[in-house]
């Protein structure tokens, strides 16, 4: 378990301290795929670097299985880092080493015996599906292959945790998919807890179980992905998760808009048709983005009632309340 407690990071500068992170509190449970999302400059890269102390926090604690990284000796810190793999946006492979020797690097650092090194390298390259590239150099590989090498390298010391700093941001959508699939597989088969920093919603959507939204050095929202996605509360989260919804609700049509929130409650009948049939009220759908996780609907829908007066609207909202659907009136 990784616990981040009251984490602060400020950088001194001539015009006063620049605050990068402020009062961050997060807990990552074992087995999670934890996404940290934010716009660029929000402080998420600094946050992930604080987890393995590549950046030294100004204040606060980083507890890895109860051990406070900010308090351990330098030697112990180096040992603990071997338990926290890391991959990067630009892969950061050693260009003068072959693929297998890149994977060997952390094993050399940890003084693993040569026989054991070779065994592990072979297995790791199998996991990332690059056995045939063992003798190649990074310059001969595509971006996706390089990231696979980086993943194999990060896993070489059998770490319990894997930090991913914008690991798919330099890759095309298809390659991103395959890297995310690989990360999920690693999480499930090897039991590695994964922390993913990204600015791309689709990354979180695809593999994360929990998410924290960072804005202006703060965690503004966090929790299960399904919950945060269904009902993002902060402006940033709305912007990231449902940019089209914001546009839809911002449109001035003169009519009252209702935003329906699907939180995973199972509706017995298709809602909009049921509404039309039961109440005889036809509604316009301005926006809809719903997804099915575990056979339950999550997402949003924005509807308006054309020329609807207050009475009509009240009838609709009563109906929604009766069906247990969350809604919000938007102007």
């Amino acid at each position: 378990m990784i616990e981040i407690k009251n984490l602060e990071k400020t950088y001194p500068s001539k015009s006063g301290d620049v605050v990068a992170l402020k009062d961050i509190n997060l807990t990552v449970e074992d087995g999670d795929i934890y996404g940290i999302i934010g716009l660029s400059g929000a402080g998420k890269s600094t946050l992930v670097r604080c987890i393995n102390l590549l950046e030294k926090p100004t204040d606060g604690q980083i507890l890895i299985d109860g051990e406070d990284l900010t308090k351990v000796s330098k030697k112990r810190l180096l040992e603990l880092r071997r338990n926290i793999g890391m991959i990067f946006q630009h892969f950061n492979l050693l260009e003068q080493r072959t693929v297998e020797d890149n994977v060997r690097f952390p094993l050399e650092i940890s003084k693993v015996k040569r026989d054991e090194q070779n065994k592990r390298i072979e297995r790791l390259l199998e996991i990332v599906n690059l056995s045939d590239k063992a003798k190649s150099y990074p310059s001969q590989l595509s971006g996706g292959q390089k990231q696979r090498v980086a993943i194999a390298r990060a896993l070489a010391t059998n770490p319990k945790y894997l930090l991913c700093d914008e690991a798919t941001s330099a890759l095309d959508p298809q390659t991103t998919e395959s890297i995310l699939d690989l990360l999920k597989e690693i999480n499930q088969t090897l039991g590695v807890t994964v922390i993913i920093i990204t600015h791309e919603m689709k990354v979180i959507e695809k593999i994360c179980t929990k998410v924290a939204v960072i804005d202006h050095s703060n965690v503004v929202e966090n929790g299960k992905v399904s919950d945060v996605f269904a009902d993002p509360k902060s402006d940033v989260a709305k912007q990231l998760i449902i940019p089209d919804l914001i546009r839809a609700t911002a449109e001035k049509t003169g009519d009252v808009k209702l935003r329906l929130i699907f939180n995973g409650e199972v509706t017995d009948r298709p809602l909009i048709s049921a509404l039309a049939l039961d109440l005889g009220i036809a509604v316009n759908i301005l926006y809809a983005d719903t997804k099915i996780y575990d056979k339950r609907p999550y997402g949003h829908m924005v509807i308006t009632i054309p020329n609807g007066d207050n009475e009509l609207i009240d009838r609709v909202t009563d109906y929604l309340a009766q069906k247990g659907i969350n809604y919000k009136k938007e102007l």
């Binding site: 880092r81 950061n92 260009e95 650092i109 940890s110 980086a150």
Partner: protein
């Protein structure tokens, strides 16, 4: 062809000169690197953006290196003769000359190495750190191997610079092409001797450059990712 040039050729003095130039240059380069490489690494890593920033050490070392680099070689050579006497027990001849070349070249080499080391991106270093590598491991497993092609190019430039310095060897009684050009060519008014020496020096420099560039390219896995055995 002048009689003196003929005499130089017949008595093999020219070839001896070539040999002396080459071996003084190479030995000096080796020793300059033994001293300059660690200094360059220290300069690189103690920089404020380095892996182990130590401001006072970086400033002090940088200052000393700058001092040595500002002394013109001819002056440095005569000023430091007592040092040669201390180290090789003589202040004359090829041995003394090698000491002088090393004193002059080591700071130069240090700056070359420093710049090569600094070319390594912070990302690779960060990755090594994230794997639990300590400072020493980052130096000998990341910084030096990754900057190898650049280090080789630097070594070629340093070698050629040292070769240029070695032409002044005659001043303290050492040999080589520079000495031949001065004492047989210039002082006896034989222009053809001077030009033969120039030509031979040009050939040596070209050989070093071509060979060095070839090795640097051949071993650079970014541009020449030939399969390993």
């Amino acid at each position: 062809m002048s009689d003196i040039l003929q005499q130089l050729l017949q008595e093999n003095i020219l070839w001896q000169g070539v040999w002396e130039t080459v071996y003084m240059t190479l030995i000096s380069t080796v020793f300059a690197y033994i001293i300059g490489l660690p200094l360059g690494v220290i300069l690189g890593i103690t920089d404020e953006n380095g892996i182990r920033p130590i401001k006072w050490l970086n400033t002090a070392l940088g200052f000393i290196i700058n001092v040595f680099r500002s002394i013109p070689f001819l002056i440095l050579m005569v000023a430091f003769l007592p040092v040669a006497k201390l180290i090789v027990k003589t202040s004359l001849g090829n041995k003394a000359m090698i000491v002088m070349l090393v004193i002059a070249a080591a700071p130069y080499v240090a700056r070359m190495v420093e710049s090569s080391i600094k070319e390594i991106g912070s990302g690779v270093v960060e990755a090594a750190k994230s794997m639990g590598a300590n400072t020493w491991q980052i130096i000998y497993k990341v910084l030096i191997p990754e900057s190898k092609p650049s280090l080789i190019i630097g070594a070629v430039i340093s070698t050629i610079t040292i070769l240029g310095y070695s032409a002044m060897a005659g001043t303290i009684g050492a040999g080589g092409l520079g000495k031949i050009a001065i004492s047989y060519g210039h002082q006896r008014y034989k222009d053809d001797v001077i030009w033969v020496c120039v030509l031979l020096t040009v050939i040596i420099v070209q050989l070093i450059q071509v060979l060095g560039t070839f090795i640097a390219k051949k071993t650079d896995r970014r541009i020449n990712p030939k399969k390993q055995k």
